[in-house]
């Protein structure tokens, strides 16, 4: 029930921002649409149902808000590095594309997805896949395609630490 209410209010905020009209007719249309969408898809936005995977939504928001500036800064630095390589006369000498793998300690699906997206957003590295150990004994394995040696050495490193601090449960 809580997830339905949360979904409804997120939808309604989005509606109000998108429509920009505050008269009764448009607002009641919005409430109607949001109720319908919430009814059909309330389990899409908050898919984690077990209590151990959930944590307080406020902590998630604060965590992501603290993480975003770091991510944007990383995107900026990495973009400048790639721009330097691209514009360098010996570009082919400087790149060394290869695939490498590492284990992650992240456990929540949301933090793993955030980490994979962050890796892909920072230029020079693309997440190819996250492999789940069939036996469930080892942690999940990231396969990453890196443009240069330096880009590969930076992972998992600080970015994983920060995501763990932002999104992982405190006891884990």
């Amino acid at each position: 029930m809580k997830t339905r209410i949360a979904t409804f209010f997120i939808m309604l905020t989005f509606w109000v921002v998108m429509s920009g009209m505050f008269d009764g007719f448009h607002l009641s249309l919005g409430v109607l649409c949001c109720l319908l969408v919430t009814h059909f898809s309330h389990d899409l936005l908050f898919p984690e149902t077990t209590a151990q995977q959930q944590q307080h939504w406020l902590r998630d928001i604060v965590g992501v808000a603290l993480y975003l500036p770091y991510l944007l800064w990383q995107v900026l630095i990495a973009n400048l590095q790639v721009a330097w390589i691209v514009l360098h006369p010996n570009a082919l000498e400087m790149i060394d594309p290869h695939i490498f793998r590492f284990y992650t300690k992240l456990t929540r699906p949301m933090s793993k997805a955030t980490f994979a997206q962050s890796i892909t957003l920072t230029p020079g590295t693309i997440t190819i896949n996250i492999y789940r150990d069939p036996a469930g004994e080892k942690p999940d394995q990231f396969a990453v395609y890196a443009l240069t040696k330096e880009a590969a050495e930076a992972l998992p490193g600080e970015m994983e630490e920060r995501i763990a601090r932002a999104l992982e449960p405190a006891n884990g």
Partner: protein, 106 residues
């Protein structure tokens, strides 16, 4: 405000330019994806911030709402662009496109 907007848009154009040069210079599909999908992540956002600032020359509720919508485009790019890049890379690997290597080690 206009000056700031122009600076942001020019910076964005510079990174788009780098992306295009990267696509032309890099040797194979995967490295080109690096150049294409990545320079976009910063360039598009810089251009979008520039446009949003330019829109705010007269600050009233309508203009602020429009600027929020423009910024929302950037948010969706940040969600969608890595997903697309990841899907392309994985798809190419599954089909068996050979990655370019500096020197053959085997």
């Amino acid at each position: 405000m206009t000056t700031a907007a122009i600076i942001f848009i020019l910076a964005g154009l510079f990174f788009f330019f780098v992306g295009v040069v990267g696509i032309l210079r890099f040797p194979d599909f995967y490295t080109r994806l690096h150049a294409a999908g990545k320079s976009d992540s910063l360039a598009a956002v810089l251009v979008i911030i520039g446009v949003a600032l330019y829109n705010l020359q007269e600050i009233n509720l309508g203009n602020i709402l429009v600027s929020i919508k423009i910024i929302l485009i950037a948010v969706f790019i940040y969600v969608a662009s890595p997903t697309a890049t990841h899907a392309l890379t994985k798809g190419a690997l599954v089909v068996g496109v050979e990655p370019w290597e500096k020197e053959k080690k085997k």
